[in-house]
């Protein structure tokens, strides 16, 4: 308990250090996350739109789930060597599966009657995607990104073993910072993960068309 209480004085005393490590932490976690979004969302949406590749989307997810991030980083040290790039590749591989599979599911699971009605009325495939599938799938696509974001931010801690910096430097270095430092940095990571998650919730609120917001309110009310 004393250690837990001691974490707060540590935070005030080492605020500059924690800020610096937070900066590094965000860089090594958000860059792979953004890369996974840029690749995973369009790929998942496209596969969902043509209703193909379920096997691919699901297998990648399962492999992603089965591989512990620690093992992944250890394997990558062997392949790309030590350093920030190594950590970011590992985190990308961690973030990619949920983003891909949620994006696939989001579009693939849009009611077939709706897309049939849309096509039957003469909407071109691209219009079916932008007017029906993407708006209806948006909340689920964002869910995938949120899952990946929390995963990446928290796992970036382990990336320290690849020498990438970040808050993991503090957490894994009890000798230098004491138990108070370890707890302080760990709390810091937890708050950071929650904050990043909430940023995407906010983003969903801002980006949703009025009709999607209405649907979400209706879902909450039900």
């Amino acid at each position: 308990m004393d250690v837990l209480v001691g974490a707060f004085p540590f935070m005030t005393a080492n605020f500059a250090l924690l800020l610096e490590k937070t900066g590094e932490h965000l860089v090594i976690s958000l860059i792979p996350l953004l890369a996974a979004i840029v690749v995973g969302v369009p790929l998942g949406v496209w596969l969902g739109h043509i209703h193909k590749g379920e096997f691919l989307a699901v297998s990648i997810t399962n492999i992603g789930r089965a591989l512990p991030s620690l093992a992944l980083i250890a394997i990558l040290i062997g392949i790309v060597g030590i350093g920030m790039l190594n950590a970011m590749i590992a985190l990308f591989l961690l973030a990619f599966p949920p983003i891909l599979s949620y994006a696939f599911q989001a579009v693939d699971s849009v009611d077939a009657d709706l897309t049939k009605a849309a096509r039957g009325m003469g909407l071109a495939p691209m219009q079916v995607l932008t007017k029906v599938e993407l708006p209806l799938g948006l909340p689920m696509i964002i869910s995938g990104i949120r899952t990946a974001a929390v995963l990446t931010v928290s796992s970036a801690t382990i990336a320290t073993i690849a020498g990438s910096g970040g808050l993991g430097d503090v957490i894994l270095n009890q000798v230098a910072y004491g138990m108070e430092g370890v707890i302080a940095a760990a709390l810091w990571v937890a708050v950071l993960a929650i904050l990043v998650d909430q940023v995407f919730v906010l983003l969903l609120k801002i980006a949703s068309p009025a009709g999607v917001k209405h649907l979400q309110r209706a879902a909450v009310a039900a």
């Binding site: 709706l114 009605a117 849309a118 039957g120 003469g122 071109a124 219009q127 009709g211 649907l215 209706a218």
Partner: protein, 367 residues
């Protein structure tokens, strides 16, 4: 069989209205990949301009396939489909579909679009200007009876009842004023009471706008009520009979059709004629004393005298009137219209309607 053979292809392209929007199936066959049996086998029918034709039949009869071939959601295996004078293969699928109204079961409304946005779907992709879209949307909501329109424009489908959703679905299908309408079991998911109401409204709309309509239903009663002509498909996608409801009910082409129509075929026929028609025909035959015949039988120990016969409205079908007469243990019914007594019809007239007259036109059957 000769019946259906002669009526399968009615006299083509004669006496058309100025704009020909008939749908012609010319020897149309569809076989889905990987299947040996045909989904639709050499279908040749013509839906005349302005006509409402119901495709009925059991599952596996290919009725939805036939419908989706018209807007090319399904590709033809062989044969030809023409709308007006245009072969549907001469247009791109997207172009073609924008000239065809399409309504499906459960309405297919986009849940994230308001009523107004749903109706405006096709006009929007056709890039109509905003004023025109707005005016058209309001006009259509009035047409389908969702008034005052301001109350409905901004609602979402989730806030509407099934019947209201289906009305919006019809409005959406009519939005760009397509000459042709395809309807795939549009009322299939509605409860019986709502279903009857929406059917009646749709018939009114159909009479008002006169779109050539192909209407898929598995409900033979719905087909009898709605259709100018009925095409009955049997498993394997073969056309069993194509004729008016009265003719199909009076003379089923084969055992399959007779069985499909069911044991109540004779009663179903009574739903094609209204009490008013019987009354008119009765006056022609008997002159001025319509009750004379019935009065005689009342004296023969019948429990209810003519004066106590149940009252029926002139617009009722014979089937409905007969139901009331039977419930009252009477020998006939008093026909009322807006409170005035128009005359009486006897039980005999109700069960032997003038509908048996083969010269009666399709239009006559619908009024």
């Amino acid at each position: 069989m000769t019946e259906s053979a002669t009526t399968t292809m009615p006299a083509t392209s004669t006496a058309r209205s100025t704009r020909n929007s008939s749908i012609v199936f010319d020897n149309v066959t569809k076989t889905y990949p990987g299947q040996t049996a045909h989904a639709l086998d050499s279908l040749s029918i013509e839906v005349r301009s302005g006509e409402l034709v119901c495709l009925v039949g059991p599952s596996g009869g290919g009725k939805t396939t036939a419908l989706q071939l018209v807007n090319r959601l399904v590709d033809l295996s062989s044969g030809e489909i023409r709308i007006g004078d245009t072969n549907i293969m001469d247009l791109s699928p997207i172009e073609l579909r924008r000239t065809i109204g399409y309504a499906i079961q459960q309405s297919g409304l986009f849940p994230h679009y308001t009523v107004a946005e749903n109706i405006a779907t096709v006009p929007t992709i056709l890039k109509w200007d905003r004023k025109r879209i707005e005016a058209r949307t309001k006009e259509l909501l009035e047409l389908v009876g969702l008034t005052p329109v301001e109350n409905w424009l901004k609602r979402y489908p989730g806030q509407l009842s099934g019947g209201q959703q289906q009305r919006v679905g019809i409005a959406r299908a009519l939005a760009a004023d397509p000459p042709v309408m395809l309807m795939d079991e549009p009322f299939g998911a509605l409860d019986p009471i709502t279903r009857v109401a929406v059917q009646d409204e749709f018939l009114d709309i159909h009479r008002a706008v006169g779109k050539t309509t192909l209407f898929v239903t598995h409900d033979i009663d719905e087909a009898i009520k709605m259709a100018d002509r009925i095409a009955i498909l049997k498993p394997g996608g073969l056309l069993a009979q194509y004729d008016t409801p009265a003719e199909v009910l009076a003379r089923p082409a084969d055992d399959f059709v007779a069985e499909f129509l069911g044991a109540e075929r004779g009663l179903k026929r009574l739903a094609l004629t209204t009490v008013a028609e019987v009354l008119a025909a009765g006056r022609d035959r008997r002159g001025s004393s319509p009750v004379a015949a019935a009065a005689g039988s009342t004296e023969a120990g019948n429990p209810v005298s003519a004066a106590e016969w149940p009252e029926v409205s002139a617009t009722m079908t014979l089937r409905e009137a007969l139901s009331l007469v039977s419930a009252a243990h009477a020998q006939g019914a008093r026909v009322m219209d807006a409170g005035s007594h128009l005359g009486d019809v006897t039980l005999h007239e109700l069960i032997c309607p003038p509908a048996d007259d083969p010269a009666r036109t399709t239009e006559g059957a619908r009024i």
